[in-house]
């Protein structure tokens, strides 16, 4: 239900793009097209219909993931999106894994060793990480690893392998190499966020009675940290990380621009420049879809992590 509401809101938003942003005709035709031809194109595109009819048509089409043709590329948007989606998803998933893996590990470490030198260094460096804009980090990485050291590629996805409709860069050495810099750039911000979140959770949980009680029972530190504390800290981490992975998709716009990563964010930013509205609205709807999907996964994870949601009956013994 909620998802449908979210999707409708976003659909309305993306539709209003059509009616507010620029004049698409101008971006479709050359500099020497006559006024009559423009009017004709308006008519064929249905841009002269009343707004509610346009919106109705938009929703019906969007439900079938039909966003018409890109003004600029003259190709069906759904096809363009399908072509670009694997690149973005691979980038986002790789970044999420980096962010979650390192984030949780370093978060637990710094949460346990609150005053350690290494903890402070980790916190300090990660804070410096979020204080740098993503685009600066990206360009810095390119300069260091591609231009100076020459060890990693500065742009693109490397060799890709086509598996059905999905083109993957994960199966070739050059593809994997090309993934390193963009995914690292994209993950840094979330990583810092997760480090901080996990650290705060761990610190809070280590003060709770059940941890003290576990200590009093002689349970080993290792088991307390990773068995008890980490598991409990995962509940808020899952929520926040879920939301953040959604935003990773959006933030990939910058990363993809800097690294010429042929994903949807890159498609989108170019669409913005050319006011290519079908692509813009399709992208928005896609983002919302990702969010809804992630929310769904988060709910399931909740269910798995927190038994209080799983078992309905409380106090069976009254």
């Amino acid at each position: 239900m909620q998802s449908v509401g979210v999707m409708l809101c976003v659909a309305l938003l993306s539709f209003s793009l059509f009616n507010f942003v620029g004049d698409p005709i101008n971006n479709m035709v050359g500099e020497e097209t006559s006024t009559e031809e423009r009017a004709e194109l308006r008519e064929t595109l249905g841009l002269n219909d009343p707004i509610h009819i346009q919106f109705g048509r938009f929703v019906v089409n969007a439900a079938q993931f039909n966003f018409g043709k890109s003004y600029q590329l003259r190709r069906p948007v759904s096809e363009l999106i399908a072509e670009r989606m694997p690149a973005t998803l691979e980038l986002v998933i790789a970044s999420s894994i980096l962010a979650l893996g390192f984030g949780v590990f370093l978060g637990v470490y710094t949460g346990i060793n609150r005053t350690g030198v290494l903890s402070n260094i980790i916190l300090f460096v990660s804070l410096a990480g979020v204080s740098l804009p993503t685009f600066v980090i990206g360009i810095l990485f390119i300069y260091i690893f591609a231009v100076i050291l020459g060890v990693l590629p500065s742009f693109g996805r490397g060799e890709v392998v086509q598996i059905g409709f999905w083109s993957t860069g994960l199966l070739t050495a050059s593809g994997l190499k090309a993934l390193i810099l963009p995914s690292l750039t994209l993950s840094l911000f979330q990583m810092t966020y997760i480090i901080r979140l996990v650290r705060a959770e761990i610190m809070e949980i280590l003060q709770t009675d059940y941890i003290k009680f576990a200590r009093a029972r002689g349970i080993s530190n290792r088991s307390i940290y990773f068995g008890h504390a980490l598991r409990n800290s995962l509940i808020p981490v899952v929520t926040i990380a879920g939301i953040n992975i959604g935003t990773l998709v959006a933030f990939s716009i910058i990363t993809e621009t800097v690294f010429q990563w042929p994903g949807m964010g890159f498609l989108f930013i170019q669409a913005v420049k050319f006011v290519d509205i079908p692509i813009m609205s399709a992208y928005l709807v896609f983002i919302a879809l990702v969010f809804v999907a992630i929310n769904f996964i988060v709910d399931i994870l909740y269910f798995l992590i927190d038994p209080r949601l799983r078992t309905k009956s409380e106090n069976r013994d009254g």
Binding site: R217, E314, R316, G318
Partner: protein, 557 residues
Amino acid sequence: MDFLEITNLNISYPTRRLLVAAVQDVSFSVRKGEILGLVGESGSGKSTIGRAILGLLDEPGKIEGGTIQLENHDLADPATEISSFRGKRIGLIFQDPQTSLNPVMTIGEQLIETIQTHLQLDANEARKRAVALLDDVGIINADARFNDYPHQFSGGMRQRVVIALALCADPDILIADEPTTALDVSIQSQILALLQKLKADRNLAVILITHDMAVISEVADRVVVLKDGRIVEMGAPAAVLGTPSQTYTKSLVSSVPPTDRRIDRFPIMGAEQNHAADHNLKILNRWQLQKNTGASLVRVEALSKSFSSEGFMRIGTNEPVHAVRNVSFEIREGESFGLVGESGSGKSTIAKMIVRLIEPTSGAIFFEQDDITTLDGPALLAFRRKIQMVFQDPYSSLNGRMKIKNIIAEPILHHNARLERADIDHYVDDLLAAVDLPASSKERYPHEFSGGQRQRISIARALATQPKLLVCDEPTSALDVSIQAQILNLLKDLQEKLGLTILFISHDLPVVRQMCDRIAVLKDGAVCEIAAAEQLFASPEHSYSQHLLNSMPKFQP
């Protein structure tokens, strides 16, 4: 030599301003097969000692000196590998079973983990042992409940699980830190019985840490009385509590509400002798005293309240919870009416409906002939003025961001918009004086006051509108017993001087006996019995009333 011997123990908490000596020069010992009661008010250091034995002092606490000798190990010696004693030789249980268990692990997992930490057992054997333990502590159908999560158990059952966890590796000593404070009186008696049984069956040494004199007098074999980190008195309960030799112990004992009779006032030891309120009840000048006719002030008729459990995540079981079922009673002008019951009995819900914080599902509440459930606008404001409330938790009942004078002045201003600033200032002074607080208090913030003082401020605020009815919802249950005595005295004085009617809500039967003229006993939202106080305590009619009175720990020095 006794099993565990503590000699000259000193513990301190260095803070930035000063070094707080939490425990000073404490020496005592425990034998196997005895329950040693550590009793004292908050800040006496009793819990600190318990934790120090296991080396689990909160930061930045530190053992400064002394020894904790267990057989030939000194647990106070930093060189001792104290973690090897935790759970293995010494078990520790905490006050609140709600928070002592990891909510995301089944009790079985927690038990097996603990057992396997200490004993070389495979999963099967560990499980067998765990089930046996659960049986021992009185979990019914232990095998079937093995994979349940903590939230699926009730409070009492949870505390049994906690005890089972503490006993996993057959420790020789069990330290129980306020093990029954969070529990209802009937469950309290079961847990205390369990502790006594375990002590006997396993030849355990038990250190029972509590603030409750009655509990100590019922179950302890020996008692150590602590005050401000020092031992005041030590010995058999009958001797220490019956014929105390120290002033502190005497005052402590005299503050305990007796269970067997009603007394006029609590005798307060020390400098601030009684009737402090006598000479400075200046608020009387403003008070419009009315004769109490003994007529009905509040009449509750067939009152019911149910909460529908709505939650975003919760699916299924949408049965409404019936918190109050068809309750009727009346409160007469000038009397103290008591509502007694265990947690979940609906007593607070009734109070909230009477002050109109929540609306009843059905039924009516009449206050001076008006059905308050239908009031609104100016009539509601006029009603609000006549009925005020004192809350249970002194820490949450005052807005921490406001100065005391603003807290007290707020109701005055709200009901008398035209009063002048200077006049309000005086009024606030008078109100503070009425609750025995110095006028200088008004420039300070709540966090600068102790719990008892905050309850006084709460009372002053409640009096600011010159109410007829004062609803007191467990006003002393969060306070130490000596402070409780003072607050109860104050309430009695104010009632008498100001002609207040009081609705007094409590789970604490001895307190109710001291405070109330008539009492209604509640169970599961329904009234079991309404009777005059003395009559109820002398000859309860309803079986539940009888059960409650029997479970009540008797303080018999």
